[in-house]
């Protein structure tokens, strides 16, 4: 009977584990709760390992961050924090490809804009012209040691000082056929640009997919890992998980995460575990 109890307990634990993993995960694009290929869970765990502070709902933002990273922000909620960082001479880095950041840029007084479009290039890293390879043409501090970058369906930037541009054999694929045609002129498109605002500067990246887990799963991706390391390499780095896509969580995932991250939860869990162990000892099961 002991053994069958053990087996039953094991099965229940496995089921609970699977259910827990399922509930905690989500399919939302670029969400930090999405452990799949199109989520940013890997990036966020890397950021936390590197000492960055993740600003999530329920926690308060850090006062004197000198680097503030926003991934696919939506709306102007991040404006006060961004202003604070810029006023302190820090860098605000925004990665966006569907234009949602343009509101925030306007409100911050930045002239750069993201123009959503299917930037494609003959210099493709993978078997798709939308996996654009671009050479770095600037020696900005964030781009030290970075020569070639790979982008994943980027848009392009108008305005600002270009830091990374595509090669000349690149075009905006309006008709989606993967090759340049009439009306799709070949030219160089800016993918990363920067602009000085007051004491600080804003770096705009026209591709939020740089932080997606699939870009980390590839073994050799030129200098992309170096770029991510450079972005996280500063005294106080704050990564946003409130105003952008990383905060997306459909259904129970959000609830589970807020519960999990509340400090009292771990205390409750440990207490429950202790009760179970005590009970087991009492009944001489263990």
């Amino acid at each position: 009977m002991r053994i069958s109890l053990l087996i039953a307990g094991l099965l229940i634990l496995l089921t609970l584990g699977a259910m827990g993993a399922h509930l905690q995960a989500t399919n939302a694009e670029l969400s930090r709760f999405n452990p799949g290929w199109n989520g940013t869970a890997v990036f966020f765990s890397l950021a936390e390992r590197n000492g960055a502070i993740v600003h999530s709902p329920g926690s308060s933002p850090v006062d004197h961050a000198d680097r503030y990273l926003l991934i696919a922000p939506d709306g102007v909620g991040a404006e006060p924090i961004a202003r604070g960082v810029l006023a302190g001479g820090g860098t605000v880095i925004i990665a966006d490809e569907d234009g949602g950041a343009n509101e925030l840029l306007e409100v911050l007084g930045v002239e750069m804009r993201i123009i959503p479009g299917n930037v494609s290039s003959a210099d493709m890293e993978f078997a798709s012209p939308r996996t654009v390879r671009a050479q770095v043409s600037s020696n900005h501090s964030v781009l030290t040691g970075v020569e070639t970058l790979v982008f994943n369906r980027p848009s392009f930037i108008e305005g600002g000082e270009p830091l990374v541009r595509t090669s000349v054999l690149s075009w905006i694929d309006h008709d989606g056929d993967g090759s340049p045609g009439s009306g799709e002129t070949l030219g160089r498109y800016t993918l990363i640009a920067s602009e000085r605002i007051g004491a600080g500067d804003v770096i705009l990246i026209a591709d939020a997919s740089l932080f997606a887990s699939t870009m980390k799963q590839v073994r050799r991706l030129h200098d992309n890992p170096r770029l991510v390391t450079n972005l996280l390499d500063s005294d106080t780095v704050m990564v946003d998980a409130v105003y952008g896509r990383p905060a997306d969580a459909e259904g129970p995932a959000y609830i589970v995460h807020t519960v999990k991250s509340a400090p009292i939860s771990s205390i409750i869990v440990i207490f429950l575990l202790m009760m179970v162990v005590a009970f087991a000892f009492r009944r001489q099961i263990l």
Partner: protein
């Protein structure tokens, strides 16, 4: 741990299969051949553990036949893979 009953062996193999499938799904890489090899190894381990001191229960004899078939199938898989590698 003495595995003295056929029930226990079956439960153990089922749990092992469940664990392997769980991890395959988690890693998003389902592969029938790897699953088959791992389950065969699990069955071999259980057959070795289920060596009672005094007698050989009936279930064990049947299990050994299943394992023998599994070994032949494993040989076929290896041959197939060799063919693939050489002809590529």
């Amino acid at each position: 741990m003495q595995i003295r009953s056929g029930n226990l062996a079956v439960s153990a193999i089922t749990i092992w299969m469940g664990i392997v499938i769980f991890f395959m799904i988690l890693a998003e890489s389902p592969d029938l051949e790897i699953l088959f090899v791992l389950v065969l190894i699990g069955m071999l381990v259980i057959a070795e553990l289920a060596d009672p001191v005094h007698a050989r229960p009936l279930f064990l004899k049947r299990l050994r036949y299943i394992i023998a078939c599994g070994v032949i199938l494993f040989g076929a898989i290896v041959a197939h893979k060799v063919l693939e590698i050489i002809s590529s």
